[in-house]
């Protein structure tokens, strides 16, 4: 997994609550194999007409075409568990989404792909978006180890992040690598568990 340590880049304001993963990656693109093609999938039906021409959308204009960070509202990424929504963000170039809250599954999917789902209070995301509208192309400076965001005016915001999530992102640590350490414990766990609930391991009991 790609590590996330620091990021300085253009941020794009998305003034909309409850942006669901259907908006980020319309369902029919789910089956696209992961790769650069996902850059165009991001917000596809908001960005493109049925004939493929561009609509008016903040992701279609400079300097936001080069954005690395999204500043959103509340409940970003609610809805479907599709990880393709993260692939779309990632391939577009986004490495961090700042919102006042996230859909739980989407926030996990972000983490597993080296994208930082960063929570700031509602008032802060509103202030940040206002600034980004006033100064299009303004950059944010994010430091995960220090848990800080610094905006274009130099104002510093601090954020909380669960320690495990922080560690995995900082080290680019993959879940499988974390899990492998616990093989012996798992074997012991499973032996006891099987003895306690043997019926869980019956394959189609009716046919046996």
């Amino acid at each position: 997994m790609e590590a996330f340590t620091k990021l300085k880049g253009i941020a794009v304001p998305i003034d909309e609550p409850n942006v669901d993963t259907n908006q980020i990656c319309p369902t029919r693109f789910n089956k696209v194999p992961r790769g650069p093609a996902y850059a165009k999938v991001l917000f596809h039906d908001r960005r493109f007409n049925l004939d493929g021409t561009e609509k008016e959308h903040i992701f279609n204009i400079e300097p936001f075409k080069r954005a690395r960070i999204v500043v959103a509202d509340r409940n970003w990424g609610c809805g479907s568990s599709r990880e393709s929504a993260v692939y779309a963000l990632y391939e577009f170039g986004i490495r961090c989404v700042i919102a006042s809250s996230f859909g739980d599954i989407h926030a996990n999917n972000c983490t597993k792909n080296g994208v930082l789902a960063l929570v700031l209070p509602e008032a802060d995301v509103i202030a940040l978006r206002k600034q980004l509208h006033e100064k299009p192309g303004a950059e944010l400076d994010i430091d995960l180890a220090a848990q800080t965001v610094i905006d274009a005016s130099g104002r510093k915001y601090t954020f909380d992040i669960p320690p495990a999530r922080k560690k995995c992102l900082l080290e680019g640590l993959d879940d499988i690598a974390r899990t492998e350490v616990y093989e012996a414990q798992t074997a012991a766990f499973e032996a006891a568990y099987r003895a306690e609930r043997p019926w869980l391991y019956q394959a189609n009991a009716a046919q046996n």
């Binding site: 909309e16 609550p17 409850n18 669901d20 259907n22 908006q23 319309p26 369902t27 029919r28 789910n30 089956k31 194999p33 992961r34 039906d45 049925l50 509202d73 409940n75 609610c78 809805g79 479907s80 568990s81 599709r82 990880e83 393709s84 993260v86 809250s101 996230f102 859909g103 739980d104 599954i105 989407h106 996990n108 999917n109 597993k112 792909n113 669960p162 320690p163 495990a164 560690k167 879940d175 499988i176 974390r178 899990t179 616990y182 414990q185 798992t186 766990f189 499973e190 568990y193 609930r197 043997p198 019926w199 869980l200 391991y201 019956q202 394959a203 189609n204 009991a205 009716a206 046919q207």
Partner: protein, 468 residues
């Protein structure tokens, strides 16, 4: 002993290790579908194997055609979809997991088939490659959706890393009114707690309303927990649960059954157990519900009117409402029952079980569909049962279409979709923009309400039809 919640009891028994505030948990069951290809791609890349093939199950539902099954897999018209199905079948052969394949007589939706087959059981930790995995919480299991990377991890290790969520108890007591369905109860709950109200929480539904529900109704409720922002929702297992499970193919048999029931009886929350958060609704006050906007919390009793954005509260809410109404093509103040629909969809893992089809047929008896109305059973098992009861005949005679099982118009992946601007009364779970097809407009309702909309050509209070 400290009084424990059902959630704590199930959670604690699955913890293998703890690290940095996360726990490594043992997974009893994993469910995925032909669209879970990203997980298999990751596995192949890293040359990993399925760790416990007996505990993982594959389903063909999201992409499969629902028009006809003639010609089997080779008869799937869209090559991309045919290949996805072929790939999942090949992975089942390669790794040895149970697949309910395209041509299986038990084929159906991944949240419909496991309960039906007795694969979902109380006290389990279940992960699914789909957010509506919360459905299985109806059996007193912790069941939640995960993305492709996490599914790859579950398939190859039978474990998952989790942070412990908080608990929220949703109490609904009282007697539900005439014509009020489980779907109305859960929509009313979401309208109350909001679409993010349950974020970071696991819900426990308790109170006489859920106690009196059938398993199918409980599944409808738990199914939409995710629409309230919660990843999982649980209902305590009881005699209703055991009666539903007994004799199903994967359910324990003989002495194992007795042992299992004895264990399942220990699961409900102890008297005096405390929750991080409590919400109460009056069951008697719930009416048939309909959504008017682009989020499940945008819901009102069918007797209401489209809300005026100016009365929405703050500026953010006003803009949210205006945007939603613009997309939905609705005017503030119009009665919800004046909303004309172009189509009706009765199906999805929320409402495609036999009781849902019975409810729809009951209403279909009262007239003829004025707009195209689809009924898509959740599984072949349900389809067959409905046909045995003659429900298909009733529906067909009323001009409804009777189709093959799958997700269909719930998510529009298989080509079943709304045209831009088309309006649909739907028994599915999401009214997000474009969910049922680009530009499509969705109103979420119960099966009886959907059938009533089909017969009237507009949203209608089904109680008026049933009372006559």
């Amino acid at each position: 002993m400290v009084a424990a919640t059902m959630f704590d009891k199930v959670w604690n028994r699955h913890v293998i290790a703890e690290e940095e505030g996360e726990v490594l948990m043992y997974v009893d069951r994993a469910y995925f579908h032909e669209g879970s290809s990203h997980a298999f791609t990751q596995m192949d890349k890293r040359n990993l194997k399925v760790a416990r093939p007996q505990q993982v199950f594959g389903f063909t539902d999201h992409y499969v055609p629902t028009a006809s099954r003639a010609g089997g897999i080779a008869g799937i018209a869209v090559p991309e979809i045919r290949n996805m199905v072929i790939n999942l079948h090949a992975n089942a052969d390669k790794y040895g997991f149970q697949l309910f394949g395209f041509d299986d007589p038990r084929q159906g939706i991944l949240h419909i088939v496991p309960p039906e087959q007795g694969i979902t059981q109380p006290g389990m930790l279940i992960c699914g490659a789909d957010s509506h995995t919360s459905t299985h919480g109806a059996f007193g299991s912790i069941a939640f959706g995960i993305g492709a990377s996490e599914m790859m991890h579950v398939m190859t290790t039978q474990r998952i890393w989790q942070r412990k969520p908080r608990t929220m108890r949703i109490r609904v007591d009282g007697k539900l009114g005439f014509g009020v369905a489980a779907k109305d109860v859960i929509i009313a709950i979401i309208a109350k707690i909001s679409s993010q109200g349950g974020a970071g929480h696991v819900l426990e539904y308790s109170g006489s309303v859920f106690k009196n529900m059938t398993m199918e109704q409980r599944m409808t409720v738990c199914n939409m927990s995710i629409e309230g922002g919660a990843r999982a929702g649980l209902i305590a297992p009881d005699e209703t649960t055991f009666a539903y499970m007994q004799g199903r193919p994967w359910a324990p048999q003989g002495k194992a059954w007795d042992d299992a029931v004895a264990f399942w009886k220990t699961l409900p929350s102890d008297e005096g157990a405390t929750f991080d958060c409590e919400v109460t609704l009056d069951g008697a006050g719930i009416t048939p519900m309909v959504t008017w906007g682009t989020n499940p919390e945008h819901a009102l009793p069918v007797t209401g009117t489209v809300p005026d954005p100016r009365s929405a509260g703050d500026d953010d809410k006003r803009i949210e409402f205006e945007t939603a109404l613009e997309y939905m093509g609705l005017k503030a103040g119009m009665p919800l029952s004046d909303i004309a629909v172009d189509r009706v969809f009765i199906g999805s893992c929320t409402n495609s079980r036999i009781e849902d089809i019975r409810a729809a047929a009951e209403v279909a008896k009262l007239g003829k569909a004025r707009v195209p109305a689809w009924v898509v059973p959740g599984s072949q098992t349900i389809k067959l049962a409905a046909e045995k009861e003659g429900l298909d005949k009733i529906l067909l005679a009323a001009g409804f279409e009777w189709r093959e099982p799958g997700c269909s118009l719930c998510t529009a992946l298989n080509g079943d979709q709304l045209k831009p601007g088309e309006r649909c009364a739907s028994t599915s779970n999401r009214n997000f923009r474009g969910r049922q097809g680009t530009g499509g407009r969705t109103h979420l309702v119960s099966p009886a309400m959907a059938a009533a909309a089909a017969i009237n050509g507009h949203i209608v209070d089904v109680r008026e039809m049933l009372r006559k």
